[in-house]
């Protein structure tokens, strides 16, 4: 509940302020967003499964974002940034799909 409201509030604030992304963060923001989405979907699934833990959610959220950004950063330094960010997006996308499937089963019983 609070999470959903906070998400909407964040979107609204972002739309209202329209900040420009700092140049340093530009490659990492989309990956970080996808990683955070993965954490959020995982959290929703866990909550529907009845095993949600705030600490785990917070830690996984932060670590997901940090690790994803770190991988992209490392890839950029190694010269394979594009491929690695694609890889990260693919992996996270698969996980999001899996979590979304679990959530769907919980919600629709199908």
């Amino acid at each position: 509940m609070i999470a959903g409201l906070a998400l909407i509030a964040g979107v609204v604030v972002g739309l209202l302020l329209r900040p420009t992304v700092p140049h340093v963060l530009e490659p990492y923001l989309p990956i970080a967003v996808v990683a955070a989405l993965d954490a959020v979907f995982g959290g929703i699934r866990a909550r529907l499964d009845g095993i949600f833990d705030a600490k785990v959610f917070v830690v996984s959220f932060v670590s997901n974002v940090v690790v994803a950004a770190l991988i992209v950063f490392l890839g950029d330094k190694l010269g394979v940034g594009g491929q690695l960010s694609t890889a990260v997006v693919v992996v996270l996308g698969i996980r999001i799909f899996g979590n979304a499937a679990a959530i769907r089963r919980h919600v629709f019983r199908a």
Partner: protein
Amino acid sequence: MREQGEDRESREDRAEKTQPPGDERSREEPAAATRPAPEARSGDPDPPERSEWWRRGFAPGGKRHLRAGALIGVLTAVLGFAIAVQVHSNSSSDSLQNLREDDLIRILDDQNARAERLNQQIADLQNTLDQLRRSGNSNQVAQEQAQRELQSLQVLLGTVAATGPGVAVTISDPQRNLKAEDLLDVVEELRGAGAEAMQFGPVRVTTSTSFSDAGDGVRVDGQAVAPPYQVVAIGDPKTLDTALNIPGGVAATARNAGGEAQIDEQQRVDIPALSTLRNPKYATPTGR
């Protein structure tokens, strides 16, 4: 890799269907929020509280839960903010701004190659232009040359009036002793001395001029000319004078015939008479 992922997913799907949800979590990958905290799993110290806590949502149930709820709220708010920012920057700003370094380098390379190609094209076209300009120039030069040639040929063929240094010869023949061939000798002598244009009486002398005897004088190109004969020639005056005065030459012949050849060297003589060109009937240029 994609197939592998799908396999894994479908395996999970099957696992989900067959196993209770709680057990499945144990083999879930890390980093997702789906794994319960270790202490919660191992010890299960406060399962009723926890389930109550999440069942009640984030309602004030204790300081810790309040803090956790606030933290989650902050994180999701940050996520929403980031999504909005990213979407906004992705859609509104210049597309180049969001590209990675490699892509930018590739684009730069492409642009450089394109610029090189275009420069090459410019050089080629410039070359062609220069060539065309040069050929235009050479055409003009050739035309001028042809024009000069035409003029000199016109002078030699007698189709245009001419002027220049030369001699004016007056041959008197009171006894009518000079024959056509003697007068032709005058012309030949002058021509041999390099006369470029000649006029015999009123007739322009050309390569095809004919001399024939007539009752009272001579017939030049069919036109009767009576003595004294006026001959004008353009050429080096001294040379022409000398040629006419050589022993046994024109002057001597005239004297022998009882007449006289008076030769005037002049810095400027005019030859106004024109001859008409016959168009060749049988001969055609070979184009060489």
